[in-house]
């Protein structure tokens, strides 16, 4: 932990020195960025935009995970579904994010629904592929056990199926969150009038690097916090049964 903090401090120090040497408007000092951050926080704009972007991340990520899990299970368990779905998956996986975003905005208008759908569609194939891998490696023995002992569906899903998929869900969550929030910024830049992506777009037009960093850095912080305080504890919780190495 101490090393990690030291490493961060070092990064900021390098930034500070570089900014002093460059003495240019396009590389502000850390202090200047913090000042802009405080100004934006004071006006409430920072929290509003962070909040709205976070909401878009959560909704689109949630949609992608729920449908990715359903499709992944269906395709992992059933060969017909797998054959039917696989070409779609390949198409979606190889369609550039930008194409999906532009198409969604053209077809559905510059709305939040279009923005969220576009992000979810970008993440969906990824989640499906990971969960499908998990569904393929399900333990048939446990399923037979559940069936012989006539476990009800809810019990099977909660105690037999999901615990086996948990590592795959955690993996999809980890890669998914980082992909989703990056795409959300692009979506906001292209077609929304608020959110971190929109503010970054404004900063780009004004060549205001302090404003750009004042929005980008807190959001990176939020995503790191989600990873540290939600994703990792979840992983820890679902793997608590694994025997620990002595």
């Amino acid at each position: 932990m101490a090393l990690r903090i030291l490493s961060l401090v070092l990064l900021i120090a390098i930034w500070q020195v570089a900014a002093m040497l460059a003495a240019s408007r396009v590389l502000p000092e850390p202090g200047a960025v913090v000042a802009v951050m405080l100004r934006e926080a004071h006006s409430g704009a920072l929290f509003f935009n962070l909040g709205i972007t976070l909401a878009r991340v959560i909704v689109s990520f949630g949609l992608a995970m729920v449908f990715g899990t359903l499709f992944g299970i269906a395709m992992g368990r059933n060969e017909t579904f797998d054959r039917l779905g696989d070409p779609w998956l390949v198409v979606l996986l190889n369609l550039p994010a930008l194409v999906i975003i532009v198409l969604a905005y053209i077809w559905m208008g510059l709305t939040d629904a279009a923005a969220i759908l576009a992000v979810a569609l970008n993440k969906l194939p990824n989640a499906t592929v990971v969960i499908r891998e998990g569904a393929r490696s399900l333990d048939a023995g446990l399923e037979e056990m559940a069936s012989v002992f006539a476990m009800p569906w809810s019990t099977r899903v909660k105690h037999v199926l999901l615990p086996q998929l948990a590592p795959y869900i955690a993996a999809a969550t980890r890669t998914g969150l980082s992909i989703v929030w990056k795409i959300v910024l692009v979506v906001e830049l292209l077609g929304r009038s608020n959110g971190v992506g929109f503010e970054i777009g404004t900063a780009f037009q004004l060549f205001d690097i302090s404003l750009l960093l004042a929005y980008a850095l807190p959001f990176v912080g939020i995503m790191l916090a989600i990873e540290a305080f939600i994703v990792q504890p979840f992983e820890h919780h679902v793997s608590r049964w694994r025997p620990k190495a002595a």
């Binding site: 037979e144 069936s147 002992f149 105690h159 037999v160």
Partner: protein, 244 residues
Amino acid sequence: MSLAGGQRQLDIKITRKAFRTASGELREVLRDFSLVLDAGKIHALVGPSGYGKTTLLRIIIGLDRDFEGQVSLPPDTKIGMVFQEPRLLPWRNVRDNLRLVAPEAAEADLSRIAADLGIGEHLNYFPGELSLGLARRVALARAFAVEPNLLVLDEPFVSLDRPLAMRLGDELVTLVERKKLTTLLVTHDLDEAIRLADHIMLLGGRPAKIIADFNISCPRATMTAEHAAELKAEIGAIMAGASA
């Protein structure tokens, strides 16, 4: 539960069960096979590996429906199953593994079953923390937890050392006798079958059929080593004759 001690029998008639092998040919495992299980008795099905014992079990417990024939279990049959491997849920502790198959069982009943099988101290352990012997005890406890009226065991003591296998076998018999459970034990170990069963069926031939059928007349408690040896010799001769 009183029904299990009644006159009900389980009738299994399998006209044909075949697999398609990897090379595409059809291989018959069972043909014109029938089996009757008397209520309240321990039946041992003995035969070498690869003679369809597990296939037969899977048909009886309803995991394999791809066969011609009929398995008539009474409609309210509750099966307690012990697989060859313990098949516990590794992410749930022992208590939850019992609880999940028997959501309505009283806590006291589960504790008593656990205590009977010597895992009372291990209820909060995860299966990964148990030895194989203990895991098999949990699998047995789970089968009893559902208050079954048909107990099916597929090589439940395989890969345990001999003394442990014998002790667990004795505990199993005690519980089964107390509850008068109809039991089907599949094993390749003739000694185990002689020691535990009321009734022994020898499986052999391809497609498999029952080549001999014994009632063990003397009660388990009075079984002597000599008597067991005689029986074993007698059965061994039949098996040797069948495979010749």
